[in-house]
Symmetry: C2
């Protein structure tokens, strides 16, 4: 399948739907569907309540997710003991994309989906985006469209199936099942759905907030063919048609022979850091969370930092359930995620950070070079203490090869968009980096993605944006 994925990534002209038509269609869906999102008080929320002991903010069914309190202790970083609210959603949901092969190219069935927190309402989401509560019908709505293709493998072939983490600073060890399947039969394309090539999806990521977080994480795991003769000969065939940069990214993805560090050296680096750093997280009642206040309609930090929890009333016409209430996390500061990329021994290498976040499943995950989501990065302290932040913010124009705003999941986050950047730095950028940073090729990153809880969502989001155009 790797070749069909690669051909899809290199197909920018879709005979069924041009990228311009897709964008028009997204805007059209946006106009057609009635959406109303209103902030309300917690005590006005239907089916959600903060229990009398104020342990957590939860749904009356006990399902979906809850907002809980945690105490975090660690020996990493300047702050080693803090409390915070966090989303607890222990269920593993589906983020699934149906594909179909036409003339050797895979087409991805994406959905123009509205989430209550989306900054622009409609974004392109996977074919299926369902929590366990969704697909086991706790909400008593209709079953999600196309669910049966994912639950019944006689109807499909599985191309990719990985457990992947979500935001470690916001979710308690949350993971979703990222899955791509391929169907042989013709399937009905419902009103909100549309076939796109991988190349088109990457093109759409050059625009702000069109491709949603769930689509980005699913496609980030696609491997384009380690070692396969078929793929390498295809690469040689098409290489001349690629831009210099596209060709270099593709080489970094396919080449498993050249890298600054061997795979075992990277595992050694990560093992040593996991041994060095402790992360102890304990559940605590929400009302005892230090430095946070529960108010009528928000749970916020006393200094209005990080984020706040709000309640919203939602009306969206084309969803399984058309009206409901739910909590959302609203960011209070702007965020930035950036990978610094550098050519080493003729192959592009990514500067990867081992990052500790409170909700991480296993202490550390591999993050972008710079990742500031929950703290304002535009202050003197951050600029002085966060490695490479200053470099990224003052990058020369010719170094910036990708720079857009991408949204976090609109089902949980209220209008949260973060700046996503890729920087290609020159020879003068040192390969000597602090101990919790290392250099990896795209090929190495893609291998780690296959194994759950190595690459964090922010690094996967950036990787999904890499185009071979």
């Amino acid at each position: 399948m790797e070749l069909a994925f690669l051909k899809s990534a290199l197909t920018f002209h879709n005979p069924f739907n041009s990228t311009e038509k897709v964008l028009e269609w997204v805007q059209e869906r946006n106009r057609q569907v009635h959406v109303n999102i209103e902030q309300i008080r917690f005590d006005e929320m239907r089916n959600w309540f903060i229990d009398k002991d104020r342990v957590k903010l939860q749904h009356s069914s006990g399902s979906f997710f809850s907002i809980e309190g945690i105490n975090v202790k660690t020996n990493r970083g300047a702050v080693t003991d803090w409390d915070q609210p966090i989303i607890n959603q222990p269920e593993i949901g589906f983020l699934g994309i149906i594909t179909k092969e036409v003339n050797g190219v895979l087409y991805f069935l994406l959905q123009a989906k509205i989430e209550p927190g989306n900054v622009n309402n409609v974004q392109l989401s996977p074919t299926l985006q369902a929590t366990k509560s969704n697909y086991t019908k706790v909400h008593k709505g209709k079953a999600p469209d196309y669910l049966e293709y994912f639950t019944n493998h006689t109807k499909s072939e599985v191309l990719l199936d990985q457990l992947q983490s979500e935001q470690g600073a916001r979710f308690m060890k949350k993971r979703n099942r990222n899955i791509i399947i391929k169907v042989q039969e013709d399937i009905k394309v419902l009103e909100d759905f549309c076939w796109l090539t991988l190349g088109q999806i990457k093109d759409l990521m050059l625009l702000d907030n069109v491709v949603n977080m769930d689509t980005r994480t699913v496609i980030s795991g696609i491997s384009f063919g380690n070692h396969s003769e078929e793929t390498v000969s295809f690469f040689n065939l098409i290489n001349d048609g690629l831009s210099g940069l596209g060709s270099k990214f593709l080489a970094s993805d396919l080449n498993s022979e050249v890298s600054l560090y061997s795979f075992d050296e990277i595992i050694h680096w990560f093992t040593e850091l996991k041994t060095k750093y402790d992360l102890n997280v304990e559940s605590i009642p929400l009302h005892t969370v230090r430095d946070w206040i529960i108010e009528e309609s928000s749970i916020r930090h006393i200094d209005n930092k990080f984020f706040k929890v709000i309640g919203v009333h939602v009306e969206i016409d084309n969803r399984e359930v058309t009206s409901w209430d739910q909590p959302l996390i609203a960011p209070l500061q702007e965020g930035i995620c950036a990978f610094i990329v550098k050519e080493i021994d003729g192959i592009l290498h990514f500067l990867v950070q081992a990052k500790l976040e409170s909700g991480n499943f296993d202490i550390l995950e591999m993050a972008p070079t710079v990742q500031c989501l929950t703290g304002s990065y535009l202050n003197e302290n951050s600029l002085q203490t966060l490695p490479f932040l200053d470099y990224v913010l003052n990058a020369k124009e010719e170094e910036i090869i990708f720079d857009t705003l991408q949204s976090e999941e609109g089902g949980r986050f209220y209008r949260e968009q973060n700046r996503n950047m890729l920087l290609l730095v020159g020879e003068e950028f040192s390969i000597d980096v602090p101990e919790n940073y290392t250099w990896m090729t795209l090929n190495q990153l893609k291998i780690f993605i296959k194994f759950n809880n190595y690459l964090n969502i922010q690094s996967r989001s950036l990787i999904s944006a890499i185009s071979f155009k």
Copy 2:
């Protein structure tokens, strides 16, 4: 380094220490060192106590480990809700082996070490076997021998460095850092230490209880050279000198081209099962553990099943601290671990089980075909419900290619030895297996070992026994 590892695995005659001499030396150390292990009441134990609320059995320093209670809920298996005591040891310790290359062959520095629970006192352990409490000197003894080679990498080169899990039914998410380093300089060989080739270590595993669990887990992670031309040409060179079986195991280890299932298919299999099965573990006070009784000198199941926790007084002359008290886990039933191996498409494949255990870090780990440690396997119910148990127990003599008793870690387990078996089955054995089983080559298993919390300790122990002789 892979070639030096392979040469070590194929070197059975050690010019410095013959295997016979090593065995004699182990027995000699056994005679020389005074050992006295006495079972005592919990209230007689120095520095250990069950707190007044009977929450746990712990050390007065708060370090080392503790015996705690957990409630386990799962949707897997016939029993879906139970309580049990478990060892909580959140610290990541070192299991480290120093190697040195002589004439292209790596020699491993092993230690004749006595642990209080060892059935036969002395077993061959890694160069360094130290909990964080050990090496940060909570016990105020002397620093462990050779520690500095592991903490100061300027003195050594790291060949392998992996986080690996321990017994999921006994430990709460415990992991150790498995590390192999190589030194250039000559190092002093202390009285209890000795250089062995990997081939010799595997030879010694043909005997009962000589190679301890910690040595077995460390060497299980050694990779012999995926794809390297150097290794393949060496393989062709030496292949004629190997037995048919040795050659087949080596081919299964080196060949990354042939396998019944692709790597992505195996990840899919594991992802689906991790999504399907829930594991919810909650800490509870030790005295509230249902069906277990805290007595004067043991914590045991009301039916005397599974295991019991006891306290011992220990005197061992050659340890950093020569006398101490501690709890140990004493098994109450015999155990068995067996891999069924079958040639498929000309390559040996292992029948791997996805097994849920209460202390697993991530729901499921990959276990041997049959693993019965904590329940008696010699009863009608087990024989009827546990897949392949009956087959293993009634295996034909010519199918059994490895069958010895191997000890669990004597620092925590009291005289626990389990039967370790490898079975080579014929054509008539079906490749169709229940959904939580799959077939993998040794090459695939070795890749999973590199990533933490995939292969469990029992499967790693069996893999460590595989010889290419």
